[in-house]
């Protein structure tokens, strides 16, 4: 083992973030997996797939509004990532993967040339495999209200242009920071701010049409 490998092994053992380049930090174990994947280690790459597949699918499903299409896009994301892994120079792997996924979503939306199906929440209700995490209250009325509200929120998302929708999904749904969202989408932070502002305005206006579903404090005059 050379000196670099010794340092890497030390970092892996103690899960110390490793400075990669451009000021971005990567977990040492992830760096090791990426390096092995770049050398053709399929098992190492599949470990990375397992780490990020839920998030990639979730983002794709919210952008496309269709879980079946989201599965196809997610699979293609990881295939494309594997082929392009040699061009990955380190940094935020999650942002890199989601960039691939969002661009594939745009390609899918352009190719389909139709409004995406607004059936995500209906599909989630009908198919347990697409269901949400089981953290809901067991009050049926509350559940129904929540389900309808979620459906309306997804419909509101689908009224947005694809670029505003993807930013809203990353920042508001997935909890990304502005910098990471900008990195994921290949845009400037200022663009994230302006698109997010417009997206939130539109979603808020859409939801105000269903006041019965909203908390009383939501609407204002």
């Amino acid at each position: 083992m050379d000196f670099v490998e010794v340092i890497q092994a030390y970092c892996i053992v103690f899960s110390i973030p490793v400075y990669v380049n451009q000021g971005n930090f990567m977990q040492a174990d992830e760096l090791n997996l990426v390096t092995r994947s770049q050398q053709g280690d399929m098992a190492a790459f599949n470990l990375l797939v397992e780490r990020y597949q839920a998030q990639v699918f979730g983002v794709a499903a919210r952008i496309l509004g269709n879980p079946t299409s989201a599965e196809d896009v997610s699979q293609e994301t990881f295939v494309s990532a594997y082929k392009a892994l040699k061009s990955f120079r380190g940094g935020n792997l999650r942002a890199w993967l989601l960039r691939i996924a969002s661009n594939l979503c745009y390609d899918y939306l352009r190719a389909s040339k139709r409004r995406p199906e607004q059936s995500l929440d209906a599909a989630m209700e009908a198919n347990p495999s697409f269901g949400p995490a089981m953290s809901e209250s067991y009050d049926p009325e509350k559940l129904a209200l929540q389900s309808e509200l979620r459906s309306e929120i997804q419909k509101a998302l689908m009224t947005l242009p694809a670029d505003q929708r993807s930013i809203m999904v990353l920042v508001d749904v997935e909890g990304f920071g502005y910098d990471e969202a900008a990195d994921s989408l290949g845009v400037a932070v200022g663009t994230v701010k302006s698109r997010l502002f417009r997206a939130r305005e539109k979603v808020r206006e859409y939801l105000l049409k269903k006041p019965e579903l909203l908390p009383s404090k939501f609407s204002h005059q």
Partner: protein, 269 residues
């Protein structure tokens, strides 16, 4: 009015900052200004509250999940890639082949390198008729060797047509030099194609330049209006094979470039 517009524009500016303020993405100065404005503007305060509620509802959305795994089973086949040297060579060679083909076609059309072909182009039977009349006027005095200018007709009826008789057949353009009288030693005939001359000195095929007057019996013409001289083996620059080769090369290069490009796919940086 100015004050109203100023208040309105400040209010609009604060509204635009609300979204970033919710996420803590404003500068310290902007945050202080925002808080000061919110303390005195109920409308902006209410809008901030509804904006926070919108964001919290979005954050509460459950992440869709699937039981399907996206692990790769087998390594995907790598896309065939041509080396950069080949790619750039193709990109340079294709336009060069196009230019070469164009140059060959243009020089061929202008007759460069084939002066005989350029000289002997015949455009219409009317020109031949005029030439025939002109040559008939000169038919009385055979004056030995004459040369037909580049733009003249391929055939001219000489006074010695009588010696030639009506049995001439002209498959291609021919010229007669001198007096086509039977037995004349000066008579010289150059024939490009089949010609049967009755009672005249044997034709002498001259490779290359054609000189003299062409002897034509227009009644014998199968196609009087047709160009008497056709492009053929005139001994000039071989344009046609080169043009075909250049066109074939261009097609191959374009096809190779198209194959190399393939369908456009997004490549992550």
């Amino acid at each position: 009015m100015k004050i109203t517009m100023s208040i309105f524009s400040r209010h609009t500016k604060f509204r635009e900052l609300l979204s970033a303020y919710v996420d803590g993405q404003v500068s310290e100065r902007e945050a202080v200004a925002m808080e000061s404005h919110l303390a005195s503007c109920a409308a902006c305060q209410a809008e901030l509250d509804s904006l926070r509620m919108t964001v919290s509802m979005l954050r509460a959305l459950p992440r869709p999940s699937t039981a399907r795994s996206f692990r790769l089973v087998a390594p995907p086949a790598p896309a065939p890639r041509m080396s950069p040297v080949w790619t750039w060579s193709l990109r340079a060679a294709a336009p060069a082949a196009a230019v070469l083909l164009l140059a060959l076609v243009i020089t061929d059309a202008l007759g460069v390198g084939s002066p005989a072909r350029a000289d002997l182009r015949v455009s219409s039977s009317a020109e031949m008729t005029v030439a025939q009349e002109a040559s008939q006027q000169d038919a009385a005095a055979p004056s030995g060797q004459e040369e037909i200018a580049a733009s003249s007709l391929a055939e001219a009826i000489d006074a010695g047509e009588e010696a030639v008789g009506g049995e001439q057949e002209i498959a291609r353009a021919m010229t007669l030099q001198g007096t086509p009288e039977a037995g004349s030693e000066d008579t010289e005939m150059t024939v490009a194609g089949g010609l049967a001359v009755d009672g005249t000195p044997e034709g002498e095929f001259v490779d290359g330049a054609i000189t003299g007057k062409a002897l034509v019996d227009d009644s014998e013409f199968a196609e009087p209006g047709v160009t008497a001289i056709e492009a053929g083996d005139d001994g000039g620059f071989p344009y046609l094979p080169l043009e075909i080769a250049a066109a074939a090369l261009l097609i191959v290069l374009v096809a190779a470039l198209a194959y190399r490009s393939g369908p456009r796919r997004w490549r992550p940086r």
